[in-house]
């Protein structure tokens, strides 16, 4: 059998192909003259090496090493990414262009500085860490429990072992901050004479309010419910987010100066036009209040519910009326999983989750599905709802049709159904197929435009509505999404509003939110990886216990676990060596030795030795350096007076790569490590 081979390409230097006759001869002569010209020109230039004896007395004939460190743990501080919201986008963009943006920050919709958080927690400056995170993520304590953490999927640590537990660290920072909250939460000064009204106290509204308050505006916030929090209070299951945590964290924001009025429904208790008159700008952050229900036969029978109403009842009353009943949940998203788990907790005997998508395509997060299955939820995938079976106006079962595929070739939603039908017995059917906004009472009597599909007409980049001075953000603009995504829109709308209030153009010199793209990591092989290097395991309640009531599932990290976890952060792209030892582990010649101490407050790289007698200049170490601290100098020619000098220590490694020769060891002392400050944990 013939073996297929690539064409062998002969390099020009060994090829016999040259132009024939005189032409080739002249080409040869021309290249000879060119070459001789180059060497002649170079020989008239000033040599780049040292001219003896003039420079001999001050400089020894040592070449620089092939590698150097740009910065080092213990000497250099991690730069915190922190700026006013209207400048933040350009800061992120600049860092991204300079390849200095950590992937966790780039992958977060709100660009929370998770690297800075890790640095501050490891340095035992935990309240500072909380405040750093709060600048971009308005409710770290809440998001630290419920966020879908895109930061962790982008974490460089995925490549080596397991990602840093960034979300649990938010929660830990919040818990530590509560100890000093009383002294650190002071009302922000009101310096501007204009005021702003915010309708809705969900994450996006709170974000915009905080950004505006930082600029000195008075912010008045209205909430329809008795308690603030929006979808966080009504929709997120209480076993994931205990309500006292939510209310306490929002109280902290109220302490910063938000004037919060609960139980006021704009459009009913007070017209929107009144707010427009009273305030310089109005922000609508009302979210989505209505569940969508498919108009299939039997959808109006007793026992059919929408997801939002079901979750509201479960979270706020602790009772959904499903005790002893069989529950059928339609939908495969995170809300559907929440509904299923809440149904279990309110006493359902059997909970079945039916999704259109196949097992692999489920839009819910895999960890959510895993936890739900642990608790006893039954998943039926690749089926579409056909008919709600009823008897005397009561639900008795659900008929579903098999679904062959959900998306067409171009990736659009276009389900194809088969002929197979199956019936499931159940007493309650919950539709969890999406949510819609309910705006009619809110906008009654104003000039706000609503599109044909019942949605507010909003510019998706600047978050302006059809009426001057009225803005909108959050899920009412973006549709159902994540909490952190809503928060990101809150920052954007705050930028627009500040420009509007100051009378500036909304578009001039404005950097759109950068959307860096990071490739997905394959699951790293952690066999043989030391236990101390792996991610701290989040303690969980036992599935059989937690499925019965609304106790928190995740129990939180201890102080010590959190400190260790924060020290695991590689401080990506900071250009400061953290002593992660991955260069030493990568080196095929074992030429690198790295040691560090991890005491809080005294974290320091104690040793970084590069043995140039072993180094083969392969560059694998610099290639994989997560912080970009280790770089090539371009100096690969080395000569030394004696062999001892061939081992570069920390001080040598830190020397600038400028110039061609360096001064031997003379005058170079490595930066010293300060003694770790002992602290009772």
């Amino acid at each position: 059998m013939a073996v297929e081979r690539d064409d062998i390409i002969t390099p020009a230097s060994v090829s016999n192909e040259y132009s024939p006759g005189v032409k080739g001869f002249l080409e040869g002569v021309r290249s000879l003259v060119t070459g001789l010209g180059i060497t002649a020109r170079i020989s008239t230039e000033k040599p780049v090496t040292i001219c003896y004896p003039a420079e001999k007395w001050s400089v020894s004939p040592r070449w620089r090493g092939a590698l150097r460190l740009r910065g080092v743990l213990g000497r250099d501080e991690i730069p915190l990414i922190r700026d006013a919201s209207e400048l933040y986008n350009s800061v992120i963009e600049d860092l991204y262009k300079a390849e200095r943006l950590p992937p966790c920050v780039g992958n977060c919709p709100a660009n929370v500085d998770a690297r800075g958080q890790g640095f501050l927690i490891a340095e035992d400056r935990i309240p500072e860490a909380y405040e750093l995170v709060r600048d971009r993520n308005i409710l770290p304590g809440v998001l630290g429990r419920i966020c879908h953490h895109p930061c962790e999927s982008a974490c460089r640590r995925n490549y080596y072992d397991e990602p840093v537990a960034i979300r649990p660290l938010h929660r830990f920072a919040y818990e530590e901050f509560q100890k000093v909250a009383a002294e650190r939460l002071k009302p922000l000064p009101v310096t501007q004479d204009k005021s702003v009204a915010v309708v809705g106290s969900g994450p996006s509204g709170l974000t915009a309010a905080y950004d505006l308050m930082k600029h000195g505006y008075r912010v008045v916030m209205y909430e329809r419910e008795e308690r603030p929090g929006g979808a966080l209070g009504s929709g997120v299951p209480a076993y994931r987010l205990p309500r006292d945590i939510l209310y306490k964290e929002i109280d902290g924001l109220v302490a910063l100066g938000i004037e919060l009025h609960c139980g006021v429904e704009i459009g009913k208790s007070m017209p929107l036009a009144a707010l427009q008159r009273e305030h310089a700008a109005v922000l609508l952050a009302v979210g989505l209040q209505e569940s969508r229900i498919l108009p299939i036969p039997g959808h109006d029978a007793e026992g059919v519910a929408g997801a939002l109403e079901f979750l509201w009842a479960a979270n706020n009353k602790g009772e959904t009326g499903v005790r002893g009943k069989k529950v059928f949940v339609i939908g495969g998203g995170n809300v559907a999983v929440d509904v299923a788990r809440c149904a279990l907790r309110t006493g359902a005997t059997e909970v079945r989750l039916a999704s259109l998508e196949s097992t692999e395509e489920l839009p819910a997060h895999p960890w959510e599905i895993e936890e739900a299955l642990d608790e006893g939820v039954i998943a039926t995938c690749s089926v579409g709802p056909e008919e709600v079976l009823t008897q005397d106006g009561h639900v008795t079962g659900m008929r579903v049709r098999e679904c062959l595929s959900v998306f067409d070739e171009t990736g659009r939603f276009s389900p194809k159904f088969g002929t197979g039908l199956s019936d499931f017995e159940c007493d309650v059917v919950v539709f969890s197929i999406g949510q819609a906004a309910k705006l009619d009472t809110l906008i009654a009597g104003t000039e706000l435009l609503v599109s044909g599909r019942g949605q507010l007409v909003v510019d998706g980049t600047h978050f302006t509505t059809s009426v001057d001075g009225v803005f909108a953000c959050g899920e009412v603009v973006t549709g159902p999404g994540s909490a952190i995504g809503s928060i990101a829109t809150g920052h954007e709308v705050a930028t627009s509003m500040i420009r509007y209030l100051q009378g500036n153009s909304l578009t001039d010199n404005r950097t759109p939110r950068p959307v860096p793209v990071y490739s997905k990591y394959a699951v790293a092989d952690v066999t043989g990886v030391e236990r101390s290097r792996l991610r701290s395991v989040m303690p969980m309640s036992r599935p059989e216990d937690r499925a019965k009531d609304f106790r928190p599932v995740e129990l939180g990290l201890t102080h010590q676990e959190a400190m260790i976890e924060a020290a695991r952060c590689l401080r990506c792209q900071s250009e400061i060596c953290v002593g992660c030892t991955f260069c030493a582990r990568t080196c095929p010649d074992y030429a690198i030795q790295v040691e560090r101490v991890d005491e809080p407050g005294g974290r320091c790289l104690t040793r970084y030795d590069l043995d140039l007698t072993k180094c083969a200049f392969c560059g694998l170490c610099a290639e994989q350096c997560p912080t970009n601290a280790l770089t090539h100098t371009g100096q690969y020619e080395l000569s030394f007076f004696h062999r001892d000098l061939m081992v570069f220590d920390k001080g040598e490694m830190l020397r600038s790569g400028e110039g061609t020769r360096a001064t031997g060891r003379d005058g170079i002392t490595p930066p010293r490590c300060s003694a770790p400050k002992r602290r009772e944990l």
């Binding site: 060994v14 001869f25 000879l32 070459g35 001789l36 180059i38 060497t39 002649a40 170079i42 020989s43 008239t44 230039e45 040599p47 780049v48 090496t49 040292i50 001219c51 003896y52 004896p53």
Partner: protein
């Protein structure tokens, strides 16, 4: 009596070559360094010019290694026969107007023929090393040196034809400045073929350290190795001297002592160009080398000969 004088002048030639090689190595290191943006030797003596004074004792004191399997008598004495003919060829160089150490009527032939004995010595030393790489280097050297004899001799023949004599002194006497443009092709061919004769870059295929270690002298060390190096520099000096005398008009435009100085300056310039070429061009491949000799240089030399032959009746 002539033989004795010849012998004495041979010794003098050896001395000139030894001293010349010392200076030549220093100069080559300087040239190479500047081409590579370095300073070169600079610690010993002014501009490092005494560097070779330090290097010669080093070579003298080095261990003289003779491989067990080598053919010992030939291995030991072959370097002498590499170096000797080069030194001997120096005696026919017309150093100043009307004076050469050995004024013979077949001087040009002598200069072209005697150094060719070196080929045999190189082949012997390569064979005697009993080493595959050395043997390969020796065979390459033989093929190359014998081939390049042809265009080199043809190029010199053009000058001889113009002068009507094989006596170098007669050639220098007959030389006129317009010979330079007329025989420029011959001069280039002589120059290129001489570089190949010395086994210097880009024609250092027999030594080719990246493939043959050091070719025919891979097994030599110490002073024996140094005699190969001296032969290389000696070849450079004698070929440059001869070229300057025959093609560039020896002392022209000066006469007397100034003429000798002019000859030496021309020689140094030619040697510098040889070094410049070596440090600029990469090494040729063996088949390219041969086809260049037979398909380009030899026909060109014949063309030059025809040109001279056509012009000759009108002179």
């Amino acid at each position: 009596m002539t033989l004795l004088w010849g012998f004495l002048w041979g010794v003098a030639g050896m001395t000139v070559i030894a001293v010349g090689a010392i200076l030549g190595v220093w100069w080559e290191r300087k040239v190479a360094a500047r081409i590579q943006m370095r300073y070169g030797p600079q610690q010993i003596g002014p501009f490092g010019s005494l560097q070779m004074i330090a290097d010669v004792p080093k070579l003298l004191f080095k261990e003289d290694i003779i491989p067990d399997s080598a053919d010992k008598p030939i291995f030991k004495y072959a370097p002498l026969f590499v170096f000797g003919p080069i030194a001997v060829s120096m005696v026919v160089i017309p150093f100043s107007a009307g004076w050469a150490p050995l004024n013979t009527s077949v001087g040009v032939l002598f200069f072209l023929a005697v150094p060719s004995i070196e080929v045999i010595a190189i082949l012997l030393s390569a064979w005697a090393s009993h080493n595959t790489l050395s043997t390969l280097g020796g065979i390459r050297a033989t093929a190359q040196m014998i081939s390049y004899e042809v265009p080199r001799s043809l190029a010199v023949l053009a000058i001889v034809l113009l002068a009507g004599s094989l006596r170098p002194l007669d050639v220098v006497d007959a030389w006129r400045w317009w010979w330079l443009p007329l025989t420029f092709i011959a001069f280039l061919i002589y120059f290129i073929a001489s570089i190949a004769e010395m086994n210097r870059g880009p024609f250092d295929i027999p030594e080719a350290e990246s493939e043959l270690v050091a070719g025919y002298f891979a097994d030599y060390s110490g002073m024996r190795w140094a005699s190969f190096m001296m032969a290389e520099y000696g070849g450079m000096i004698s070929a440059s001297l001869f070229g300057a005398a025959l093609f560039l008009g020896a002392g022209w435009p000066f006469t007397g002592a100034l003429g000798v100085v002019a000859l030496i300056v021309k020689t140094i310039a030619l040697m510098t160009i040889v070094m410049w070429v070596k440090w600029t061009l990469p090494r040729l491949r063996q088949d390219h080398l041969m086809s260049f000799c037979w398909k380009v240089l030899t026909p060109l030399a014949l063309v030059q000969l025809v040109i001279v032959g056509v012009v000759l009746p009108w002179l």
